[in-house]
Symmetry: D3
């Protein structure tokens, strides 16, 4: 039994509030346990300079935390005058993960900006960001599609993410909260598609190592969690939009 | 009749959700029309270097907007590597305004950090931030007081803020939304106390000027709005905490 | 009687040396008591990117102090690598104030840069900067006009600024020097036109508040001081140039 | 057959020149194919502020490339005024990987700085950096040990890294050079210990995904490569120093 | 005959106004032709961290130009967020030059900050800065000496600087103005002491070279100019203070 | 006899390894005693914005040191977020020196970037950088010439640099190593051409001064050293390429 009473393979409670803020083309508030992230998708009708004129689109992500999203107040990155390495690593991960299921050619020469702003943090903020940003992005792209239908809907598959880890006592668990994450020997983030394929797999032993058997067990737990998250995403997006993805559900 | 059907002296609908995020000592989500700001108050047990050892406290504010709080996406200040002049001006205003009603000696050698993060913007974000930050700050100080009572409660009076302005047609109005604010000839921000005294008064004619009569009319409207906001703050804080402020209600 | 022997409604001694430095299209050294500011106006034949092609002009200001303009040496903002909030606030104020009396359409697609560099500071540097920058700007625009006459002279009215404040003993006074300013309960900056209309009014109680009666008294003092400053500006500019402003004197 | 004639499970030619630069406590030039990295280990007799007084040591890494280490010249990060996200990600990985095999308590209150400077890049610079930095670090720690023997030698196991990936034609290969890496559908970096345990496993499909079977094949190839690299590290370090690691070879 | 009618070995007209600004311990406005620099010397009762506790003093210089000191307006270094290479080079030169004639041991553990702010530029700003900063520094040190006499006056000799150069037609000239400097094939800055010894000699052929004979001629001209500048410095400082320097005049 | 056994007029041992790294159009590793610098020349087919469309080329240099090139580890400039004054001064010197022997018109509208990265430092890094960068640049330009012959080979003469100085005991010496340099009273860098003309001459007395006789002696030593370095450059470049320079050898 875990700290918060969950079994090892159980996700925390997940909620998604689509349309949480009014200006973005797509937005949701995703809640995973006590972690809350506002994900917004903004459509810009141009691409970064290095891609201009190629007719392909781009997907880019930014991630930040409110100063008091955490137990102790963090100095704002804007006040520091620079983005930390952790933030850069996370926002690069989010962008890369989402691009893996987007058909950039079908999207056409536009950029989807995904802003993931953590308003309350309790572990798993990067994986909640990916899971939520996917929904915000699909809402925005569906809105483009409603206005001017794409020849091919530019999202190839569903995409969600979760964390798994090995606790100090050697138990492998799904969806670690902050207390578990701080003490875990091994921490792994998994990003997978609706078809059960890997997009990212990042396993880390901070001052620790892990075996192939542990790796297998973590992957099994992660796959189960991601499948549940994708089922939830489909409910939120509704049948009509879900059918557009990959040309099938 | 105004754009959104309000009479000239009517505030937009105001809501305050105390405890909106769990980590800060005090927090609220304040909604004024379509403007939404998360205000959090964090207590730090030390003061800035230039004040150490004097036994006095400090109150400091920071202000930011999510990139897509506005109709068009803004580049993050952390990505730009610097805080804009507008942000600096606003956060200096918030801090200065709150310090006007705080007894820094009574507070003792600690800092109250007020973070005002705009998640949706529709005009009046700085005044909503002040009105909300005051409540978050009082919640945090009341929590300190509950743990170890202050000899004198360190908040001297209530404090709220609103905007007033002169529209293009010459009408003076209370609490401008974004559409009104963009077109207004004169824009004024007022910060006042529960006793009806001024803390800040900033009137600006951007490419325009105004007369003493217009100034008087704006002040009359502003006083009315602020009195209503303070009545609302008292409801949210409750009678017990409200009584602590200034030794009376 | 005040610290330096002045009555409460008396300005410090004012001097203006036009043409103080040779390269700018317009320049003056303005002296208000012991406060000395070099104001220069530079004409650039283009506008900021967001305004290009609209046929309108722009007026932009920058403000700085020499490191030892003050009693204690300040670290240069260039060495710090960033402009402080105070500087940003002041330079935004100067630009906004001057734009209120400039007809940007009549100016045509060019920028007037106003550089206000404080070489000696003794209170009231931002208001001296506005009063001096107005003169430097008019000199530069008159030079443009002499070369190629404008259909309409692009300056609509005179503009000057001063500070007023409430001293610790409750006296309202005009044109505070540094010693008075440091100890004042209330500090207000007023920017007004030749026609006696307000452009900016910024009243602040740092750790203090003020009443409507005090506000009225401060405005009365400020109006008197500004009228005197504008009389002086007219002398410096001479009758011929003064007549160009607003089509009348 | 691959581009450069290698079979899919064959490493590029590896060379290590210990003592390549004279000032650091430990240094090597590691060459993997056409990738060349100068790794240096510097010992500093203090730890970062957040760790002071705990009696534990720290290991920190920095990574950079000469501007023309690559086919096209890159702008220096010092000229840009900031470290890119890619660099931060890599240097955080190197530091974390090395700390997994260091006994920070046994090291005592000192920092080992690992500088990995790529002078020529042809794919696999981060994994070559880890493999080389491990050797530089052991040389530096062995030098400390020679001067004042540690009660326990603070390195628990060998550590090396390599990359594996899936080429466009679906072949899984070991140790990708730049041409292969640019075109690969899946790219994975593996860091493992002498005991065959994982330290880091980072698999990424840039605009692609991968299956569990592909994951297994990649891990098998990676383990083989890392075992060979560790054999080579032992030769370079010599029997005497190698015996110190983990109390056994 | 030169552009402005001078013979090749003639300095431009030099003026020095001591006490030009009131706050610094020492200040002058130095004018060399149309080049005008405010030099101020500030005394700080501590030294940089790397020198603390050694009982020695330090002399440090900063240099800047007002944006419109030049014919075309320059962007402020504070707005750019960094000091340019040219500025750094100049301020390092000024500091180094002055330290060559200061007895840092005799000065005791304090820093003299020299701020050289060019308000109008017409060539030779760095050499005018050195010549002026020397006077400002001596005034400040003499003030310290008047309050608490030094056992040994900490200035060993006079110090002044000038520029010399080879014009396009091959003529070697003294004290180039901006027009001459822009077109010169060779530019040399000389810093020398009252005893006629070299402190700095920086000769540069920008897209040109020079011979040993040209070098000799330039040095001869420079020595003459510096001797005249030092005679002028003595007049400004007065006989009493001048006698303190190096224990003799 | 000097610290390392050399006579006063003897250079340290010099080596140059052309083609040391494979990507740049020209590269060498230059070794002067224990100072080692990788010099690379990159050709870019455009010039800086201020020169576009003029048909002339540009030569620009950057200089850096690995953090542990020195006895004590230096913080990376990329981590500090800015380039130090020393680095700026050196890279401006290198660029200026090389431009003195390049015919920018003959080069055509392209930029040669010279990157000088010090991997091991023992005094004289800036002069070794110039001597090495010249060779790397000629290799790159000869490669351009081989592909499409220039009407006039754009390098006018050979160029090399060395340092000379006056030791504490008054001896003038050639090519100071770090130990000598640290203790020297006078330090001078000389850059000269194959024809024996000066390009740069920078003599500095840090907290010291020097006489004309000392200057003469230093120049004599420097000329001898530079002549030897140029002889060596010719050997490395080979007769064919050397003949291209200045139309003669």
């Amino acid at each position: 039994m875990r700290f918060d009473g969950r079994e090892k393979g159980i996700l925390r409670q997940v909620e998604m509030v689509p349309g949480y803020i009014k200006h973005p083309e797509g937005s949701i508030l995703i809640t995973v346990g006590d972690t809350k992230v506002i994900c917004s998708a903004s459509v810009e009708d141009r691409v970064p300079p290095f891609m201009r004129g190629e007719g392909r689109g781009w997907v880019s992500a930014e991630y930040a935390m409110l100063p008091r999203a955490t137990e102790h107040r963090n100095i704002r990155e804007s006040s520091k005058g620079k983005v930390t390495g952790r933030t850069m690593e996370i926002q690069r991960l989010i962008g890369r993960a989402l691009r893996a299921v987007v058909d950039l050619d079908a999207l056409g020469e536009r950029t989807i900006w995904l802003d993931c702003d953590v308003i309350q943090a309790d572990g798993g903020t990067r994986t909640a960001s990916i899971t939520g940003a996917f929904v915000a992005m699909v809402i925005a792209i569906a809105k483009l599609h409603a206005a001017t239908p794409f020849a091919k809907f530019p999202v190839n598959d569903f995409l969600a993410a979760t964390s798994v880890g090995v606790l100090e006592d050697g138990t492998a668990v799904l969806d670690l909260n902050y207390v578990e994450d701080s003490a875990a020997a091994v921490d792994m983030n998994l990003v997978m598609t609706g078809a059960g394929r890997f997009v990212e797999l990042q396993g880390t032993g901070e001052e620790a190592t892990f075996s192939e058997d542990e790796l297998s067990e973590l992957i099994t737990l992660g796959k189960k969690g991601i499948a549940e998250l994708i089922t939830f995403q489909k409910e939120i997006l509704g049948e009509e939009v879900s059918h557009l993805i990959g040309g099938q559900v």
